[in-house]
C-alpha cells in the first residue's frame, strides 16, 4: 500500500525545552516519512516525546520549548522555514490535527458548527452560509445522524463519542493533505473506540488521506497503520511496517511493549511489563537510553547506538537487536 510520493518527511527533528535544571531533549533527532495515502503510527509510552513531535510538525511547541534543528518537509517544502503567517495558512488547511480529549478541545461557549466553520471561512474564503453548509455535510461524512442539531449545539451538550466525531469533522473540513491524530481513542470507552476506528478506516479508504496517528496503544496503531515508528525517550528506536513490528520486533523495548498487551485466548500467559520507567531526559543515561531497563544491556550499550537497517525498510536503534521473534 502507499508507495507514492512522500507527503511529509521529518528529518533529524530536534525539539528542546530549556528548564531551570537543564535542557530537556523531548525530541532528539527523529526522522520518518509519511507517503501519499499512507498511515504511519508513532507509538511510545507517556513522556517519550511523541506529542511534542506532532506539535513540532505544526510548529506549535508550547513555550519554553523550541525546535532547535532538523527539517519538516511538506511535499518537499520545509515548514520550519515558513513565516508565521504562511504557517497559519498551512495549519488546518494542509495539515490538520485532532487531540486526545474532545471535551477540552472545543471552546465551551461557542457552538460546534461555528468552531468548525471558523477554519473553513479562514482557509476557503467562503461566506458564513456556505461554510455552514460545508460544516453540515462534513458532519454527515463522519457519521453524525442529525448534523444540523449537532452543529447548533454547545460542546457540553454532546456525548464523548459525538464530540470525537465532531473533532474529526473539524480536522477533515478543509480536506487536508495530512492529518495528525494525537491519541484519537484514548479518552473513549471501548465500544466508541471501536466505532471510531471503523470510521477512521472508512475515511482512509474513501478519502485516501495520509495520516500520522500518535498513540500509546499498539492495538490502535495495528488497526490503522501501515508503518510504525516506536519512540523511546525522544528517539525513534524501531521503524518498520506494522506486520514486521508485530511478528518480529527487533528492539528490546518494542518486545517489551508487545508483551505488555493483553491477548484474548492466552489465559495462562502472565502479562509482562517493562521494569523501571522513562529516564530523566535532562540527564539521559549514556549511550542507549533504554539500557538501564534492558535485559540484554552490556558494556557496549554505554556507547550511542546507530540506526541500522536490518532488512529492507526495518530500522533499529540497538547494539543487540533481538533475533528470532519476541
Amino acid at each position: 500500500m502507499g508507495g507514492g510520493e512522500p507527503v511529509l518527511e521529518v528529518r533529524d527533528l530536534r525539539t528542546y525545552f530549556p528548564t531551570m535544571r537543564g535542557t530537556v531533549k523531548a525530541v532528539d533527532g527523529i526522522s520518518f516519512t509519511v507517503l501519499e495515502g499512507e498511515t504511519v503510527g508513532l507509538v511510545g509510552e507517556s513522556g517519550c516525546g511523541k506529542s511534542t513531535a506532532a506539535l513540532s510538525i505544526m510548529r506549535l511547541v508550547p513555550a519554553p520549548g523550541r525546535i532547535v534543528g532538523g527539517e519538516v518537509l511538506l511535499r518537499g517544502r520545509d515548514l520550519l522555514k515558513l513565516s508565521e503567517a504562511e504557517m497559519r495558512g498551512v495549519r488546518g488547511a494542509r495539515i490538520a490535527m485532532s487531540f486526545q480529549d474532545p471535551m477540552t478541545f472545543f471552546n465551551p461557549v461557542m457552538r460546534i458548527g461555528d468552531q468548525i466553520a471558523e477554519g473553513i471561512i479562514r482557509h476557503q474564503r467562503l461566506s458564513r452560509r456556505e461554510a455552514w453548509e460545508k460544516v453540515i455535510s462534513t458532519l454527515e461524512v463522519v457519521g453524525i445522524p442529525s448534523p444540523r442539531d449537532v452543529a447548533m449545539s454547545y460542546p457540553h451538550q454532546l456525548s464523548g463519542g459525538m464530540r470525537q466525531r465532531a473533532m474529526m469533522a473539524m480536522a477533515l473540513s478543509c480536506h487536508p493533505e495530512l492529518m495528525i491524530a494525537d491519541e484519537p481513542t484514548t479518552a473513549l470507552d471501548v465500544i466508541i473506540q471501536a466505532q471510531l476506528l471503523e470510521l477512521m478506516k472508512d475515511l482512509k479508504r474513501e478519502l485516501g488521506m495520509s495520516s500520522l496517528i500518535i498513540s500509546h496503544d499498539l492495538g490502535v496503531i495495528a488497526e490503522l497503520c501501515e508503518r510504525v515508528a516506536v519512540m523511546y525517550a525522544g528517539k525513534i528506536v524501531e521503524y518498520s511496517d506494522i506486520r514486521r513490528i508485530l511478528r518480529e520486533p527487533r528492539h528490546p523495548y518494542t518486545v517489551g511493549l508487545l508483551e505488555s498487551i493483553p491477548r484474548v485466548g492466552f489465559k495462562k500467559e502472565r502479562l509482562i511489563g517493562i521494569e523501571g520507567s522513562v529516564p530523566d531526559l535532562i540527564e539521559p543515561p549514556p549511550g542507549c537510553r533504554f539500557s538501564p531497563r534492558c535485559k540484554y544491556a552490556d558494556e557496549k550499550c554505554k556507547e550511542d547506538p546507530q540506526l541500522i537497517e536490518l532488512e529492507e525498510g526495518h530500522y533499529v536503534l540497538c547494539h543487540h537487536p533481538v533475533m528470532g521473534g519476541g
Binding site: M58, A63, G89, A96, V109
Partner: protein
C-alpha cells in the same frame, strides 16, 4: 435558497431569548439584586425625565425661600439659596450616572485590553504591562486624581477621564488571572491548529469565556466611580457648572446645624445609588457564575 440560514438565524434568536430567560431566572432569585436594578431604573428615569419634563433652572436664587425645612411644596426642603433640594437631587442623578458609566466604560476598555494581552502573551509583554499596572496600583488613587483635576481643571470631561484612566488596574489584573488559566486550555491549541491568529483567539475564543468576572467587577466599579466623583465635588474639585450630590454635601457642611435636610437627602441619594450598584454586582455574580448557575 436560504431556508437553512433562516432556520439557523431563527434558532439563534430563539436560543438567545432562552439564554436571556435563563439568566433572568437565576438573577431574579436574588431579591436584593432585583431591588438594586429597580433603583437603577428609577434613577435613570429621573435623570432622563427631569430634563424633559421640568426645564427648571437649578441655579436660580429664591431669597424668600431660603433654608425651608421639608414641607408639602418642598418635600426635601430648600437650600441656602432657596432652591428645592428634591429637584437638585434629581438633577444630580444625571451627573452621577454619567460619571459612573463613562468612567467605568473607559476603565473597563483599558483594563480588558491590558489584562487580555498580558495574560495571553505572558513573558515580556506581561512584565511591562503588569509593572505599569502595579505602578498605578501603588499610587494612592484619590490623591492622584485630586492632583490631576487641580492641575488640569475640573470639567466633567476631565473628571470622567481621570477616574477612567486611574481605575483600570483592577480590571486588568482580574482578566489577566482569568486568561492565565484560559490560555492553557486545549481549545486554544485547537484554534491555533486550524490556523487562527493570536488576536482572533484572544477576542473570539478567550474573552467570551472570561468576561463574566469583569462584568461583575465593572458594576461594582460604577458605584465607586460615583463615590469618587462625589468626593471630588465635596472637596470643591467637581465641575462647577453641574449639580452634583457631592457638591451639595460640601455646601451643606456650613448649615448642618440649622438645616440637616441639606446634607441628609443628597447623602442618602449617594448611599442608595452606590448600594444599588453593589446589589446588582452581587446579583450578576450569582447569575453569571457557572458554578452557581443551574444546568
Amino acid at each position: 435558497m436560504g431556508s437553512s440560514i433562516e432556520r439557523l438565524s431563527l434558532g439563534r434568536l430563539e436560543r438567545y431569548s432562552r439564554g436571556l430567560r435563563g439568566f433572568w431566572r437565576s438573577y431574579s432569585r436574588n431579591r436584593p439584586a432585583v431591588m438594586g436594578l429597580a433603583i437603577l431604573f428609577l434613577l435613570t428615569a429621573t435623570a432622563v425625565l427631569t430634563d424633559l419634563l421640568d426645564p427648571y433652572n437649578p441655579f436660580g436664587i429664591y431669597p424668600s425661600e431660603v433654608l425651608l425645612p421639608p414641607s408639602f411644596s418642598h418635600p426635601f426642603g430648600t437650600d441656602d439659596l432657596g432652591r428645592d433640594i428634591l429637584k437638585l437631587v434629581m438633577f444630580g442623578s444625571k451627573t452621577s450616572l454619567l460619571v459612573g458609566f463613562s468612567a467605568v466604560f473607559i476603565a473597563s476598555s483599558i483594563g480588558i485590553i491590558v489584562g487580555a494581552l498580558s495574560g495571553y502573551y505572558g513573558g515580556r509583554v506581561e512584565d511591562i504591562l503588569m509593572r505599569l499596572t502595579d505602578m498605578l496600583l501603588i499610587i494612592p488613587n484619590f490623591f492622584l486624581i485630586l492632583l490631576i483635576v487641580a492641575l488640569f481643571g475640573s470639567s466633567l470631561r476631565n473628571v470622567v477621564l481621570v477616574i477612567g484612566f486611574m481605575t483600570w488596574p483592577g480590571t486588568a489584573r482580574l482578566l489577566r488571572s482569568t486568561f492565565l488559566s484560559l490560555r492553557e486550555q486545549e481549545f486554544v491549541q485547537a484554534a491555533r491548529v486550524v490556523g487562527a491568529s493570536h488576536l482572533r483567539i484572544i477576542f473570539r475564543h478567550l474573552l467570551p469565556n472570561g468576561i463574566y468576572p469583569v462584568i461583575v467587577n465593572s458594576s461594582l466599579q460604577v458605584g465607586s466611580a460615583i463615590l469618587t466623583e462625589a468626593g471630588l465635588s465635596f472637596l470643591g474639585l467637581g465641575d462647577p457648572s453641574l449639580v452634583s450630590w457631592g457638591r451639595m454635601l460640601s455646601i451643606a457642611q456650613m448649615y448642618v446645624r440649622r438645616a440637616w435636610w441639606m446634607a441628609a437627602f443628597p447623602g442618602a441619594a449617594i448611599f442608595i445609588t452606590v448600594m444599588a450598584f453593589n446589589l446588582i454586582g452581587d446579583g450578576l455574580n450569582d447569575a453569571l457564575n457557572p458554578r452557581l448557575r443551574e444546568r
